[in-house]
C-alpha cells in the first residue's frame, strides 16, 4: 500500500474505534503493522540509494583507471589496481564485525566490491597490454566476485554474476568453444536464491532473482545448445517457455502483480514470440541443412545436453500441464500446449513439403491464443487481457497481410472468410442478447 493510503488509513482508526467497528487491541495491531510497512518503504529508499551509490562510485573508479595515466610507473599502477579492492574488502570486514545487516549496506557495498574486483583485473590488463579476450576477463571477474554474494548476502552481485556468466558463455561459443560449464557455474547462485525466497517468495529480492534466472536460463540455453540436430531448438525452446510459465503458475500462482510473476510473464511472452516466429517458413526450412557447428567447433559430447533437454523439457511441461488442469487452471493450456505443437510441427516438417502444414498449425495456434485471451478478458471484464488478446490477433493479421510468401488470392479469401465469421458471431450474440432482454 502506498504511504498516502497508509496515512489515510491510520487517520481513520480513531473514528473506527469510536464507532465500535474495531477494538483497542485491533487498532494497536493495525497501527503496528502499517507503521512498519511505512518504515519498510523508507528502508527500500535507503537500499536503492545505497545501490546507486555503490554502483556509481565503482563505475567511476573504472573510468578513472581506464584513462590510462601514462606517466605512472608499473609499481604505482599495481598499487592503484589494488587500492579500491582492498578498500572494499576492509569495508566488508567492518560491516561483518559491526553487524551492519541492512540491505542498503549489503547491496551497495556488494556492487562496489564487485566492480572493484573488475577494476583491478582491468588495470592489470591495461598495464600489461593483455589481449582482448573479453570472455576470459568476464569469467575471471565473475568467479572472483561470486563469494561476495554469500559473504554479504547480496542480490545485486548475484545478478551481475548471472549476466557476466551469460556474456562469457556467448563469447566462448562464438569463438568455437563450448560453454557447458555455464550450467554448474550458474547453479552456484542457487543457494542464494533459495535463501532469499524462503519466507516470502513475492518480496522484491526473490522476484528480482527470479527475473534474472528466467532471462539467464532462456539466453544461456540458446547459447549452450550444441545445435547438431538442426531445428531441435524449436522443441527445446517451446518446452522451456511452457515449463517456465507452468512452473510459475504451479508454485507462484498467487502472485498479486505481473512484476511478481517473473516465470509466468517471461514464459508467456517468450512462448507467444516463439509461436510468431514459427508462423514463418524459415525456421522450418532450415531444418535439415543448417549445421551451425563443425570442425573443431563441433563438440559431440555437448549435444547430449540438446537431446536430454529435447526429451525431458516436454515431459516436464506435460506433467505440469496435467497438474495445472487438474487444479482447474484450464487457461494454462494456451502456453502449455506449445511443446506438444512444437513436437508435432517438427514431425510435420520432416515430411516432404511438410513445412506448410507446420506453418498453418502455428498460425492457427497464435490465432487461438489471441482469441482465447479476448474471450477470457470479456468474461472476466478485464480490459488488460482484452487488449493483450487484441495485440496478438492484430499482430498476426498484419504479419500475414504483409507476408510475401503467401499468394494474394489465398490471403484475400482467408481474410474475407475470417472477417465474415466474426461478423456472423457478432450477429448471433446480438440476437441472443436482444432475446434475453
Amino acid at each position: 500500500m502506498s504511504p498516502k493510503y497508509v496515512r489515510w488509513f491510520l487517520g481513520e482508526l480513531p473514528s473506527l474505534l469510536e464507532s465500535g467497528v474495531i477494538d483497542g487491541a485491533t487498532a494497536e495491531r493495525l497501527r503496528r503493522h502499517y507503521g512498519t510497512a511505512a518504515g519498510k518503504s523508507r528502508n527500500w529508499a535507503l537500499t536503492v540509494f545505497g545501490i546507486l551509490g555503490g554502483t556509481l562510485v565503482g563505475l567511476g573508479l573504472i573510468l578513472l583507471l581506464a584513462h590510462n595515466w601514462a606517466d605512472l610507473s608499473r609499481a604505482a599502477r599495481t598499487a592503484l589496481a589494488f587500492a579500491p579492492l582492498v578498500a572494499a574488502q576492509l569495508l566488508a570486514l567492518w560491516v561483518f564485525r559491526a553487524g551492519r545487516e541492512s540491505a542498503a549496506w549489503r547491496e551497495g557495498l556488494g556492487l562496489f566490491w564487485t566492480l572493484a574486483v573488475g577494476a583491478a583485473i582491468a588495470l592489470v590488463a591495461q598495464t600489461y597490454h593483455i589481449p582482448s579476450d573479453a570472455g576470459r576477463f568476464a569469467l575471471t571477474w565473475m568467479l572472483l566476485a561470486l563469494p561476495i554474494v554469500y559473504l554479504l548476502n547480496a542480490t545485486g552481485p548475484a545478478l551481475v554474476y548471472l549476466a557476466g556468466l551469460a556474456f562469457w558463455a556467448g563469447d566462448v561459443q562464438s569463438n568455437g568453444g563450448q560453454a557447458l560449464p555455464f550450467w554448474p557455474l550458474a547453479a552456484l547462485i542457487l543457494p542464494h536464491v533459495v535463501s532469499a525466497a524462503r519466507g516470502n517468495p513475492y518480496a522484491a529480492r526473490p522476484a528480482l532473482l527470479f527475473w534474472g534466472l528466467a532471462v539467464a536460463l532462456s539466453v544461456a540455453l540458446g547459447i549452450t545448445l550444441e545445435k547438431i540436430l538442426p531445428g531441435l531448438w524449436i522443441i527445446v525452446y517451446g518446452a522451456l517457455f511452457a515449463v517456465l510459465y507452468l512452473a510459475g503458475e504451479f508454485w507462484f500462482g498467487e502472485a498479486p502483480s505481473v512484476w511478481q510473476k517473473p516465470f509466468q510473464t517471461f514464459g508467456a511472452v517468450g512462448g507467444v514470440a516463439l509461436a510468431f516466429l514459427l508462423t514463418y517458413d524459415w525456421p522450418w526450412q532450415e531444418i535439415g541443412w543448417h549445421y551451425l557447428r563443425h570442425g573443431a567447433a563441433y563438440h559431440g559430447f555437448a549435444a547430449t545436453l540438446d537431446y536430454a533437454l529435447a526429451a525431458l523439457l516436454p515431459v516436464a511441461a506435460i506433467v505440469l500441464l496435467v497438474g495445472s488442469v487438474r487444479r482447474g487452471k484450464s487457461h494454462a493450456l494456451f502456453i502449455g500446449a506449445l511443446p506438444i505443437l512444437a513436437v508435432l510441427g517438427y514431425a510435420l516438417a520432416a515430411q516432404p513439403r511438410g513445412e506448410n502444414a507446420a506453418i498453418a498449425l502455428f498460425n492457427l495456434y497464435v490465432f487461438v491464443v489471441g482469441l482465447g485471451l479476448l474471450v477470457r478478458g470479456f468474461r472476466a471484464r478485464r480490459s488488460g487481457t482484452v487488449n493483450l488478446g487484441l495485440v496478438v490477433v492484430f499482430a498476426l493479421i498484419l504479419l500475414r497481410f504483409f507476408d510475401e510468401d503467401l499468394g494474394f488470392v489465398f490471403r484475400g479469401v482467408v481474410f474475407v472468410l475470417l472477417g465474415l465469421a466474426f461478423l456472423v458471431v457478432n450477429l448471433v450474440l446480438a440476437r441472443k442478447k436482444g432475446a434475453a432482454q
Binding site: 584513462h67 595515466w69 599495481t78 589494488f82 574488502q89 583485473i121 588495470l123 591495461q126 589481449p131 554469500y150
Partner: protein, 189 residues
C-alpha cells in the same frame, strides 16, 4: 562453528581476489625481466574499451604459417609455433606444432582460422593500451607507418616458455610515446 567456517570462507575469498591479479602481474613481470625479446612487424588494421580504456589496435603481417602435413587444425585450437628471426631482425613464424618445442623459442596461442594449407594465428598482443589523450594521435601515426608504402612500425614482445607480454610499440625505431613527444603534430587530424 558456523562463524569459523564463514570467517574461513571470507578469508579465502579475500585472498583469492588479491592473489589472482597479483599472479597476473607477477607472471608478466617475470617474462618482461627474463623473456627473450622479439620484434613483430605490424600491418594496417576508433578502438575503445569501456573497462580498460583506449588502445591502438594492432594487426600483423606474418601471422600465418603452413600447416604441417598429416595434421588437422581448426579454429580456436591452442597451438605452439616455433619462432625465427628474419634477415632484418623481425620475428617470423617458422613451424606450427601441437606439442611444446623443447628448446627453441616458441609462442603458444590459438588459431584464428584455417584457410586451405595456411593456418592463421591470433597473436596474443593485439592491443596497445594508451593514455586517452595520446591514443588517437598514436593510432594515426601507427596507421601512417603501417601502410604498404611505409612500413615503419613494430611491437617488441618478450616471450618466455610460449607466454608473450607486449613491451612497447615502436615507430621509426622509437617507442611510440617518445615519438609522440618529438613529433607533437604527427598523427593529428
Amino acid at each position: 562453528m558456523k562463524t569459523h567456517l564463514l570467517l574461513g570462507l571470507f578469508g579465502l575469498a579475500l585472498v583469492a581476489q588479491l592473489a589472482v591479479p597479483a599472479a597476473m602481474i607477477l607472471k608478466r613481470e617475470r617474462v618482461l625481466a627474463h623473456g627473450q625479446a622479439f620484434k613483430f612487424r605490424t600491418a594496417p588494421v576508433d578502438p575503445y574499451d569501456a573497462f580498460r580504456g583506449r588502445y591502438v589496435a594492432l594487426g600483423f603481417d606474418g601471422n600465418s604459417v603452413a600447416a604441417p602435413p598429416g595434421h588437422e587444425f581448426a579454429r580456436g585450437q591452442t597451438v605452439h609455433v616455433r619462432l625465427e628471426e628474419d634477415a632484418e631482425g623481425f620475428a617470423k613464424l617458422a613451424e606450427l606444432r601441437r606439442d611444446r618445442p623443447d628448446a627453441a623459442p616458441y609462442l603458444t596461442t590459438k588459431i584464428q582460422y584455417v584457410g586451405g594449407n595456411q593456418v592463421h594465428l591470433r597473436l596474443p598482443f593485439d592491443r596497445f593500451y594508451m593514455d586517452e589523450n595520446e591514443a588517437p594521435a598514436a593510432e594515426g601515426i601507427y596507421r601512417q607507418n603501417s601502410v604498404r608504402s611505409n612500413r615503419n612500425a613494430y611491437v617488441q614482445v618478450r616471450i618466455d616458455k610460449g607466454f608473450a607480454v607486449l613491451e612497447d610499440l615502436y615507430v621509426d625505431g622509437q617507442p611510440i610515446r617518445t615519438y609522440l613527444a618529438d613529433h607533437p603534430q604527427a598523427g593529428r587530424r
